[in-house]
């Protein structure tokens, strides 16, 4: 993923409920992938991090995947 996924797909607000999208940015352990690998803008990376953390709180995504 070289290009920013969110601007490429015209996503302006990163929603914590959209688990299918958020899952793309998790590695096998459930960690958030870094800037370098995700290839998204800094602004979106920050929003993505918040969205993933909200999703984790609501039990939609794991904090740690076995």
């Amino acid at each position: 993923m070289k290009q920013d996924y969110f601007s490429a797909n015209n996503i302006k607000y990163i929603d914590y409920k959209d688990v299918e999208i958020l899952k793309r940015f998790l590695n096998a352990n459930g960690k958030i992938v870094n800037h370098k690998r995700s290839g998204i803008t800094s602004k979106n990376q920050r929003k993505l991090a918040t969205a993933i953390k909200n999703a984790r709180f609501m039990g939609l995504l794991p904090f740690v995947a076995k």
Binding site: N9, I11, K12, Y13, D15, Y16, K17, D18, I21, N54, R56, F57, M58, G59, L60, L61, P62, F63, V64
Partner: protein, 181 residues
């Protein structure tokens, strides 16, 4: 004559809408979303009633509901604990739903207080959001639209990859057949 009257009415309506929008802005209103997890111990048929109660709660504090989703059973990604009547309960399933609403900033604090006391909720999350639908539309059959168009000639080959749209595909095939005939 009647047309001009209608126009007048329309313009008046638009003006009213503008007024309400402006007043909303000046009053410090904000779009919020309440996501919540209901305890799985309640029966399936009671979930909509509790959902209604939550909606009423929001409305009673001057909230204006924009959109919402019915609570549905989900598997939680990890086990959650909630203490109800000094008993620690563990849950690995819950009903998840959400309500998007517009409300005063002060009202949200009151809503939060009420929800804190609600024993039917495992957890809830109030976030600031935007009025537009934030869920990205689901893509069909995994592939991009350009790929789908490109393979219009090989429709029969593509069919198995799009089980969701069987009806649509059937209709399209019918149309093609009639065209050919």
């Amino acid at each position: 004559m009647s047309e001009t009257e209608n126009d007048d009415k329309k313009s008046a309506e638009i003006a009213e809408n503008k007024d309400t929008a402006e007043s909303a802005k000046s009053a410090g209103k904000q779009i919020y979303e309440l996501g919540y997890l209901l305890v799985p111990t309640i029966a399936e048929e009671n979930a909509p009633a509790l959902f209604g109660n939550l909606k009423e709660l929001v409305v009673s504090f001057g909230g204006e509901i924009i959109s919402s989703e019915m609570p549905r059973m989900i598997r939680l990604a990890y086990v959650m604990a909630k203490t109800i009547d000094n008993v620690k309960n563990k849950f690995d399933t819950a009903y998840f739903g959400w309500i998007k609403f517009e409300a005063e900033k002060s009202a949200v604090a009151e809503i939060k207080k009420k929800l804190d006391a609600n024993t039917d909720l495992i957890r809830f999350l109030i976030t600031k959001t935007v009025r537009e639908n934030t869920l990205a539309p689901k893509k069909f059959s995994g592939g991009g639209s350009s790929r789908y168009r490109g393979s219009a000639e090989h429709k029969e080959e593509k069919e198995p990859s799009a089980p969701m749209d069987e009806e649509k595909v059937d209709k399209e095939i019918e149309a093609l057949v009639t065209e050919a005939a």
